[in-house]
């Protein structure tokens, strides 16, 4: 029977090879060659030019800040949600998935309407006699867009790990005299670390590589590394340079992936 069962994997193996592995090899092929097809490292070293390294540095800065904000917002939220006894897991997940049914570009654009100089938020603030918020077309608006779009990817893995923690462990710690802070630091936090790391990967990678959020909320003034690569492929048409820069970008992603695989061997912190 195992032979016929193994046959079932053939279409999937074929698919993975053709649409995952070969395309990635092509990125490497283009990244390491020039227009004449001869080997070069120039496309990778291109990251060192001031224009490109500025875009990469900007992307790293904004994505690290967004990841930290996401973590700080998501952890307490996941803790509160995991302690609601009556809540069904499926319902909580639903609340975070539901916004995805409204197009991601439109939702991000809606922030323009909310953040504009005479936008919704500033009207509310001026009605309350508070100072106006002028962050549209600044890095702060991009960070807000990143946090808004990727927050669910931080909440769900942490929530999934927290609900699996045996409540008796926490009760035991409290019975043995640990206070709330101590219990959190010694029991809850270490047990949820796989969820935290999974959340960090799920937020950091899309934030680092985005070109859409920076374009919609940064007012075309702020170029991130994602924007540079996108331009190389769709406007300039220099696939070799675009691939080279992508390879550099992938070094960060691979580091992240390895980190999440090492800390989450059983895959228990998956987002679903």
């Amino acid at each position: 029977m195992s032979k016929s069962r193994k046959m079932l994997s053939l279409p999937f193996l074929f698919w993975s090879a053709l649409f995952i592995l070969i395309p990635l090899c092509m990125v490497f092929y283009y990244g390491f060659t020039d227009k004449n097809g001869s080997f070069t490292l120039q496309n990778l070293f291109a990251i060192a030019t001031p224009e490109h390294s500025k875009a990469l540095w900007e992307a790293i800065k904004l994505s690290v800040v967004s990841t930290i904000i996401c973590l700080l917002l998501a952890y307490p939220l996941a803790m509160i949600l995991s302690n609601i006894r009556t809540a069904q897991k499926s319902f909580i997940i639903l609340i975070f998935i539901l916004p995805m049914w409204m197009n991601f570009l439109l939702r991000t654009l809606a922030w323009q309407t909310l953040l504009e100089k005479k936008g919704v938020i500033n009207s509310v603030l001026s009605a309350l006699h508070l100072p106006a918020l002028n962050i549209i077309n600044t890095p702060a608006a991009i960070i807000l867009g990143m946090v808004y779009n990727f927050l669910p990817f931080m909440v769900l893995p942490i929530y999934n790990v927290l609900i699996k923690i045996d409540k008796n462990l926490i009760h035991a710690a409290r019975d043995l005299g640990a206070n709330g802070v101590k219990t959190f630091l010694h029991i809850t936090l270490p047990l949820s670390i796989s969820g935290v790391i999974s959340g960090i990967t799920m937020v950091f990678v899309p934030a680092l590589t985005t070109f859409v959020i920076s374009r919609l909320l940064g007012g075309n003034k702020i170029l991130l590394i994602g924007n540079v690569i996108e331009q190389e492929f769709t406007v300039t048409g220099n696939w070799h340079l675009g691939s080279g820069l992508s390879i550099v970008l992938m070094l960060f992603i691979i580091f992240n992936m390895v980190l999440s695989v090492v800390t989450d061997k059983d895959g228990e912190a998956n987002a679903i």
Partner: protein, 255 residues
């Protein structure tokens, strides 16, 4: 008491943050003005002109068709993969799952450009098919992710018992294994459908000039200004899904 109050306020603020843009879009869909900058009174006119806007309806059809087909094919491929992965050695399985997970963990822009390079070198014409192939590829890991845990919970003896009692392999699968993993298959399908529907980046790199999904159409409209019909269409989609989800969640289960 104060603590539960604070917790509620915190949850409330986060949900305000998550849903504020959605409310904004719903409000904009009823705005009589053509620009989103000012409010000129309540109107249904964008809901009426939506159905006369052939370009948007065409993009909607493409989006739904690609989401449905890619989710369906990914569900079949992913479920087959889960069945066969289960009978493999631990190491082989880990490597294969690792490979399928690449599109989920990798940056979407890299997946997008890598598929673009593949299609160019194969000489495939960019259009509906290339978008569909790309969507199937990034949907498969979501299916595996939701079917695999169900597969692991299965008791292999029930399947063997069915075989011992004279069932054929197919019978044993569809009568014993399939009902148990069905919830995973269904949630995998919906997950894949949602991911495909909301995708912009990978579609952006794998679409041809003549075809648009809702996402790519919105992106090209950004500079000229979004057509207000887009707001009414997304409001219709959102409210429909919300109602469906509430019905599924709050219908008393038959026992």
């Amino acid at each position: 008491m104060i603590r539960t109050g604070l917790k509620r306020i915190y949850i409330g603020l986060i949900f305000l943050f998550l849903y504020a843009p959605i409310f904004t879009l719903i409000v904009l869909s009823f705005n009589a003005s053509k620009t989103r900058a000012k409010w000129e009174g309540f109107s249904f006119k964008w809901y009426i002109s939506l159905f006369e806007n052939e370009a948007i309806i065409q993009a909607l059809q493409n989006t739904l068709m690609i989401a449905f087909l890619s989710a369906l094919i990914a569900t079949v491929l992913g479920t087959m993969a889960c069945i066969s992965l289960q009978s493999m050695k631990r190491k082989t399985r880990a490597v294969l799952i690792g490979i399928t997970n690449i599109p989920m963990l990798n940056a979407e822009i890299v997946t997008g450009i890598s598929l673009m390079l593949l299609f160019i070198s194969l000489g495939v014409t960019f259009g509906f098919t290339t978008i569909l192939l790309a969507h199937i590829t990034f949907n498969i890991p979501y299916v595996i992710l939701s079917v695999m845990p169900r597969m692991k919970q299965l008791n292999p003896s029930t399947y063997e018992a069915a075989l011992d009692l004279g069932a054929s392999q197919l019978q044993a699968f569809f009568k014993v294994v399939f009902p148990d993993i069905l919830p995973g298959i269904i949630s995998g399908f919906f997950m894949a459908f949602t991911m495909s529907l909301d995708d912009f980046i990978i579609t952006h790199f794998t679409k041809g000039p003549g075809i648009d999904t809702l996402s790519t159409k919105i992106y090209t409209e950004v500079r000229k200004g979004i057509k207000p019909e887009m707001y009414s269409l997304s409001t219709i989609i959102f409210v429909t899904v919300l109602v469906l989800m509430l019905l599924v969640n709050y219908t008393p289960k038959k026992k």
